[in-house]
Symmetry: D3
Subunit: 338 residues, 6 copies
Amino acid sequence: MAKKIAAFGEVMMRLQVPRHELLTQAGTLHYSFSGTGVNVTSALARFGHQGYLVSTLPANAVGDAAVSYLQKLGVTQSFILRDGKYVGMYFLENGFGARPSRVTYSNRKESSFNTAPDGTYDFEEIAHKVDVVHFCGITLAMNESVRHHMKTFAKAVKENGGTVVFDCNYRPSLWGEDGYEKAKPHYEEMLELSDIVMMNEKDAMFILGMKTNKKDRQEQLKELIPVVAEKYTISVIAGTHRSINSNNTHSLQGFMLKNQTFTFSKTLSFSVYDRIGAGDAYTSGIVHGELQGFSPEKTVSYAAAAGMLAHTVAGDTPMSSENEIFQAMTESVGDVER
Amino acid sequence: MAKKIAAFGEVMMRLQVPRHELLTQAGTLHYSFSGTGVNVTSALARFGHQGYLVSTLPANAVGDAAVSYLQKLGVTQSFILRDGKYVGMYFLENGFGARPSRVTYSNRKESSFNTAPDGTYDFEEIAHKVDVVHFCGITLAMNESVRHHMKTFAKAVKENGGTVVFDCNYRPSLWGEDGYEKAKPHYEEMLELSDIVMMNEKDAMFILGMKTNKKDRQEQLKELIPVVAEKYTISVIAGTHRSINSNNTHSLQGFMLKNQTFTFSKTLSFSVYDRIGAGDAYTSGIVHGELQGFSPEKTVSYAAAAGMLAHTVAGDTPMSSENEIFQAMTESVGDVER
Amino acid sequence: MAKKIAAFGEVMMRLQVPRHELLTQAGTLHYSFSGTGVNVTSALARFGHQGYLVSTLPANAVGDAAVSYLQKLGVTQSFILRDGKYVGMYFLENGFGARPSRVTYSNRKESSFNTAPDGTYDFEEIAHKVDVVHFCGITLAMNESVRHHMKTFAKAVKENGGTVVFDCNYRPSLWGEDGYEKAKPHYEEMLELSDIVMMNEKDAMFILGMKTNKKDRQEQLKELIPVVAEKYTISVIAGTHRSINSNNTHSLQGFMLKNQTFTFSKTLSFSVYDRIGAGDAYTSGIVHGELQGFSPEKTVSYAAAAGMLAHTVAGDTPMSSENEIFQAMTESVGDVER
Amino acid sequence: MAKKIAAFGEVMMRLQVPRHELLTQAGTLHYSFSGTGVNVTSALARFGHQGYLVSTLPANAVGDAAVSYLQKLGVTQSFILRDGKYVGMYFLENGFGARPSRVTYSNRKESSFNTAPDGTYDFEEIAHKVDVVHFCGITLAMNESVRHHMKTFAKAVKENGGTVVFDCNYRPSLWGEDGYEKAKPHYEEMLELSDIVMMNEKDAMFILGMKTNKKDRQEQLKELIPVVAEKYTISVIAGTHRSINSNNTHSLQGFMLKNQTFTFSKTLSFSVYDRIGAGDAYTSGIVHGELQGFSPEKTVSYAAAAGMLAHTVAGDTPMSSENEIFQAMTESVGDVER
Amino acid sequence: MAKKIAAFGEVMMRLQVPRHELLTQAGTLHYSFSGTGVNVTSALARFGHQGYLVSTLPANAVGDAAVSYLQKLGVTQSFILRDGKYVGMYFLENGFGARPSRVTYSNRKESSFNTAPDGTYDFEEIAHKVDVVHFCGITLAMNESVRHHMKTFAKAVKENGGTVVFDCNYRPSLWGEDGYEKAKPHYEEMLELSDIVMMNEKDAMFILGMKTNKKDRQEQLKELIPVVAEKYTISVIAGTHRSINSNNTHSLQGFMLKNQTFTFSKTLSFSVYDRIGAGDAYTSGIVHGELQGFSPEKTVSYAAAAGMLAHTVAGDTPMSSENEIFQAMTESVGDVER
Amino acid sequence: MAKKIAAFGEVMMRLQVPRHELLTQAGTLHYSFSGTGVNVTSALARFGHQGYLVSTLPANAVGDAAVSYLQKLGVTQSFILRDGKYVGMYFLENGFGARPSRVTYSNRKESSFNTAPDGTYDFEEIAHKVDVVHFCGITLAMNESVRHHMKTFAKAVKENGGTVVFDCNYRPSLWGEDGYEKAKPHYEEMLELSDIVMMNEKDAMFILGMKTNKKDRQEQLKELIPVVAEKYTISVIAGTHRSINSNNTHSLQGFMLKNQTFTFSKTLSFSVYDRIGAGDAYTSGIVHGELQGFSPEKTVSYAAAAGMLAHTVAGDTPMSSENEIFQAMTESVGDVER
């Protein structure tokens, strides 16, 4: 029952300072390539589906390295174009305990993906070939031209009977001042085109401007999310509540609203090795559960375990197999596996 | 009062993926050489005894590297033969938190050690030269020819008045289906030849097929182990109970049965840096305590502290001196030592 | 005019000691995955074709790492099965000047590829899907079962009108005593099935037992190779003459016999960074030239330049694009390219 | 309101074994240069002041590397002389959990700093140029000639109206047998010259030989430190109480006595990445608070947070900006900062 | 006789692939910071002068790392502003033998330096403080605003009686199509303001459009350069002729025209470790010779030796002391220096 | 015919900057332990003899690491004492082409070896147990107490009928001003006690003050060395003539005077990877040849090949087996050995 899943998004180069050093202290960087679309499609490829990335990369040594890296992750290249000049980059300095991790971006605005002109992609053709397409709010924040690509693609998939997944993923620094106001109409357009949406009560309140008198996060969630689902006719809305404990472990609870019924996972608590990209693991778990016809209980539990494991693996991109996630769902932490 | 201690066993090459990466992600490996016999004899060498390994390694670059590594650990080479073609290898991927460590073996069945023909070793001569010999259940699982070496050697030492140490160390994956049935007669032969045995109640129940109505581990232990000691006339039986706590620390309690009296160490709880080989540190502590004539209380406490420290050191092989273990027995965790 | 090219062969894990250290001195290894089939198909994928590997890898962490690595190289996975237990490995210690490089093999005889049972591969189906298939003498040396796979596959491709490429690649250490005698009938079977053959006069003399009174290599070549081409009805025979100069540079001259006419490349002299796999780069150049319909002059020149560049790149696998090879054919060594 | 702050002290080379390996196991070392004076002046430079080091380094490759490293840290070189032959060195093996970190010194007694002859430094000139000078008890332990430099310098600054900071920092291993007796007169001389002193109740009891009937650390502190302040007319005495918790986190509470009034920071608990040099971060926080005219509450809170953050950063030398420290004072541990 | 030398130019981050690997193959990068201005001022600082960089860097982690790196090199920070968002970057893949090194740029056009608005720098103040200022043709290629800064600064220095050094350094890829036409007027403006110019006959022919019937490089040089010196009233014109030998060594001959008299260095031949930045070492040698009043013979010889040594050192930035260059001028290659 | 060979000498820690970087540029060091005595005894151990080191190392982490390292090299520990405080260290920066390698020493004068008091070693006992003892001129330069040890040991071996080997190895920097005058009487004492001496004509002229009118090195050698042999009744005098070629290769010719007859090896030319310690490889070749009763021709050829190979291996210590040296004596540079 393998499906074809495309994601539309930018490939970024991650330049990570080794260990817990600062960029000022070190002399080497570990590099890899990622992005929300990369993370989701490669995770789904690892679960047995075929994952396509729809993106643009330059025809130079950096673009070559990105393509090789995506191939290594099992992402299919057919819809990656080679044009433009640059790859967006970010530097990651790992925090430790009381010192938070720090991300510094290079100028991604001029990247191949963000400067790809109208008509770059043949969305009609792609829409015919795939079952599911994944979008993310980061992409929506880029510029008008990228937004146009995104909406055109979503419509094409919708019209071809495919499933549209949209992860709200609002990043304040990308939208700038009055960001929520600017973002709202674009988010609404995407929500109307979407079947599966990743969001929580904060997105409802801040992006969509919804009001509630509830103070508790979970009560806010239960009040607002069903309204969103109904208003934009969204089949599945899923997301997580995360908190950072005083001993530096993180806690995560997943939820999913389907047929106006909420399902919650257990609250998982765990040590964190690499925080970045863990949200995409949760998304890929939800999508996989839906594609495989898991029960909502199994789906949220699977997604939460996928999210937890992604915190224990180096790099942005989830690396766990379906089997490893099933194991993590049922078993306690084990000794060495021989 | 330094003694001469030989161990009979395979030398394996450990190929460890750096940090917490997967083999799929990394590009380099750290390598070292180890094995139960290596770990026990080098630990005892570090305590002031002379440790010999009785084994076979190929006469090629890998064998040379293994020999150099053992020399570095202080293991005496006199009884290591250079023949055959291969060294057994295993890959180690370090887990993190909710993700367990993973070991993948290469084909050790064709290793120099496991293919050494009859008559390879002059066990009579070695038995004359050493005071103690150490064997382990992993070696017993290899093949008929290795088992034959092992029993011949044990008998030779026994006849020469030496002490035979046997660590049950049953590995299900090595014995395959109906493993316990296959293993039982070989284990019984070894137990009859042994003076000091490392085992716990699980070995009694699963390998020797003993029954008990008790549910609690410690009660099972207290019922079964004295029976084993009597039946096979074993002077000392020792072992540990280990558990993994929810915060990823491990807890360890050592025990020892001598003159039909049990002695237990305190339960130690500690963070784990490198799990592999820690059991061998415990064994070497018990053997050292017996050789030095420590009281049972001191012996189990020493062995448990040796086991705990082995979890804090990189690699399979214990690296602590007698002094460092004494310190760990008495002091709380300290600040930097200058 | 991209073609589909399959190769049948083992994937090996290369474990390379860093810099110019010995295995006895170092503590880390760089690892990668390669093999003649891997090298040839990934080189041809880099030239714009689709490269498939027909092979078997275990379903464990080492197999996963191998598959990821091949994906990174652009090799298509569709015909790689996951079965058996092991991956063949070799250690590489880089020489320096007067000290030659040294390769030490692990036991590859029990690898997934070499133990794959009859009926493992659906050669008929594959033969329908590909235009060219590549085999190599190393595979022929493995065992009877592998040879049976190989010949069955070659016949299937031949019958389906595909092109069979065979690289003689005789390795004395793999055939053992009286190796040439044992090898001859198998080589002859393969030669009869082949359209493009990589070999030189030494293969004719030693494997096929042909005689010549000539003393000079090139004269031997010119006498013997046309006889081989005629006897086994081979369209193209190509190969190289290599020598090591006193200043540690290597010299390489490529040749090709087609329509009973010899074409020779210029003799190229160059510094060597990584010797292993350079022959496969030459092979892929010859195959590419034939597939693209290059003139014989262009083909040998292209293949020789591809071989030269492969000596300047880390790892077994050629990494040069068609464009970089064209540049190396025409230009002198250049300054930094900005 | 940037000030000019000089420190008088030795620059040492830190040779750190990577990860948690022992010197016996590893083959590489990370090196850096530090010292109490280096740490304090570079921290103050990072807070916006100008930091000078008054020291001597050899005119060779090691001295060059030290100077480059200090420049990188932002320490001004004007008062560093190049003479003598050696740099003091120490090896650091990182502990893990139950295993403490271990420091092994090379022979620093013959270092350029410790053998600099009388008349090496023009203290009069320096005293005219700087506002504050920092000394430390480690320097006081070196030898008579260094002590003479130190006291001469302190007097010159005092006479020029500058502020003298003295960190007691008594190291038993440096003073040897009857150390407290030997040290007392030198400490008293320094205390009489000092305006800001880093010490706690243990220094009062052990170095100054003061008596108390109190058992509790904080009560001892409250009884003894005001007496010290009065006796030696010291404006500010500050220090910390540190404890190591069973889960390997550390707890730290800062205090400051000013105008005979004690101010205490909250007790901070945190995970430790690099213990060494954290005391110097606390000192630099106190000095900065005093120079900036912070309230005592803000000063101790700032100093304690600076100390805490220094435990989370690689190397001896504090790397946090004023802003990062303010953040750590007010916020709980955060998620990734993008 | 130390002078104050400023350079105006961009600081770039160099991201170098280790060893001779490709970006597609490796997983780590070595990083450093450089630029023509950085290289020249730090080289002159190493010769005993005070070197200032006039530039702009962002106030983020990358900017901090750049500043620390420049401090390490001994460049004085006083005229470096912290504004804008980005640092220009380039990736360097080291070639080997027949395979040239390859540089891939990130989008530097949006760097802090290239987007610094008018009025950013107080050139009047700087011009008062420095003796010499250095500019380079790469900076001239950036954009109109940067060119405006550059010319304003040159005029200010000229008017204050300082010395203007200009290195033509024409990079075709930066000027694009019809680059020479676009560049000519800007170059002419700079030449009119300059006292010391780095260029050779190619710059005269291609940028300035001068004609000659001579075929030989040296004859072209001797015909054209004196005309340039006269036309633009330049005191000193210096440069090099470089060639790459078949054994991968490089040959370099320096020249200098002063008072209409040519002086040539010996032609030096040498192995190359790191090609980038070697031209800046030559420039710094010429400037140092002029500042110190060396004879023309000594100056070109010093500059050529400085250039040669810069090829033997890692990184863009020259690291040799005056003493090491004098040694290289007079001695043959030596054995280990102990 | 394995012999027991002791060497008396210091163990030093080598701290090598990676690749070709300067200490100012890098952040990591590779460390190992060596010394003339270490190099010679471990080389002879590799040739099948038993090698003992007579030395003193501190009982701390650095001493432990040194001992482990020597064990790894196959040096027997029985005569290594653990006392004193320090290990001598040196930093090595690898040169490249025109830039020579550079060694910077730490203060070895206070090392455990150099401060070992009278009566530390039981030379009588050792002399009874060994066949050969090796000394070196570096040790002779240390201090009066070390010289006293050395001469006492040499006499004890001589009286017990053992063979005394002495390598002149005069290091000007260790003897200081008027070094030759100071050194001469000590060298003469050692020469009178020695059977095999490593030296060449320069030692005769400079240390012993001998005169010659010859200009050519080889003629000087032929005139002076036989006089030395006769005067001090030395059985074998051997040494090398080395030169550095313009292409950075080195040339080496070995010689040996025995029974007043000179034997010369071929002049070998080769690329150099690690220069340090290559002289000790030559020495060990001469000693091995004499112990095995090789003909003088075979001995010098073996020693020269051993010296050549030592230049191709990382670290100070020769790593070649007897077999590898025989291969290098007879064969030209080979391709990869599989």
